[in-house]
Point group: C2
């Protein structure tokens, strides 16, 4: 199947079957697609926390719009972004890049100096908006990968970030939760979205051609 | 090829061949992947402006970090997000949904009332951060689709948003530019990124398993 066929196949599943678990091998592929996501300056400003532990999943529920989906899905993938930029984080990312590429350490220092100049002078909320949006590239690719595997998903912003951050102790990792992705297999009877037609505005409204 | 193979194939191309244009049919598929992107509450808070007109492309260049890529690529796709939430925009999106699904108008009014309550009370910059990040789901899927077609791309945040917004008169559409995607075919000699190894932090650093 092509990507477009996969994207037409998927929908935001509204009820999961708690008896069906996604195989680890498939969860790994979904996470791999997110890991391969391109990010601004290649900094990979986000991480994924893959929660399959039922007890922990139930602790994340408080404040969630779809608590049953959280409980019944196989894995909750938490997309969490860097809570802030720092010179250390930027250097660490680029030191790893030069190491992998066999280049001298500091090879990109004029570029990293520029990044530091930009980010370290911006307000914290502007920077977190920036790290957060990178995670959405990974979110989209993870959903596409799940669709390729015919694994159901539902992205979810409707949850209490403070609860999730606290339960997973994300502050210790310098991260803050941004979005969730419920991964599993639909409860086809309860999933009210399933019979509904996919709705997207027509191409002519979505795109403006400047030829 | 699988999505993961496609993601491993792609890289951020640093120089394009100005003599090679991407066929409209392929550009359409890339845009279609972005159109199919899921978005928060299904609102599709972003649009794509597809610029292939050389004169306009050259007007977008001022302030861009890679002016040659902008000029030499085949198409510049501008991902632009809603500049603000409004009751009208939310109603319009849901009226279209009920129309397509053959449901009574206002069927989702308790949900849309809640959305209005949330968004219309939030500061403008919080809302724009939210609409902006939706566009990154589309950006990721557009890059994946291009890779499936073996079309080269480079995502670019390094440009002057004010210039792009003004040249394309995005304010008249209630949009603001968020990111660009250069689409075309690499100039293989000048593309200094091509021979370099793809760098991603290892899986064990990217993911935290809570089993």
């Amino acid at each position: 199947m092509s990507l477009i066929e996969d994207l037409n196949w998927r929908h935001a599943v509204k009820a999961f079957d708690p008896t069906k678990k996604v195989r680890e091998e498939e969860v790994d592929k979904i996470i791999e697609a997110a890991r391969l996501a391109p990010t601004s300056s290649g900094l990979q400003q986000f991480r994924v926390i893959a929660v399959s532990n039922q007890e922990i999943k139930e602790k994340l529920v408080k404040g969630a719009l779809n608590p049953d989906s959280m409980k019944d899905c196989s894995h909750v993938l938490v997309f969490a972004a860097w809570d802030a930029y720092s010179a250390e984080r930027i250097d660490e990312a680029f030191d790893y890049t030069t190491e992998v590429r066999g280049l001298p350490k500091g090879r990109f220092s004029s570029y990293t100096d520029k990044l530091k100049e930009i980010y370290l002078s911006q307000p914290a909320e502007v920077n977190f908006a920036h790290t957060s949006r990178q995670s959405y590239i990974g979110l989209g690719l993870a959903m596409a990968q799940a669709a390729e595997l015919k694994v159901d998903t539902c992205p979810a912003e409707g949850f209490d970030n403070n609860v999730v951050d606290k339960v997973l102790e994300l502050d210790k990792l310098g991260l803050k939760s941004v979005t969730l992705l419920y991964v599993g297999y639909a409860n086809e009877e309860k999933d009210w979205m399933r019979p509904m037609k996919k709705v997207r505005i027509p191409r002519e409204e979505f795109v403006i051609d400047v030829k």
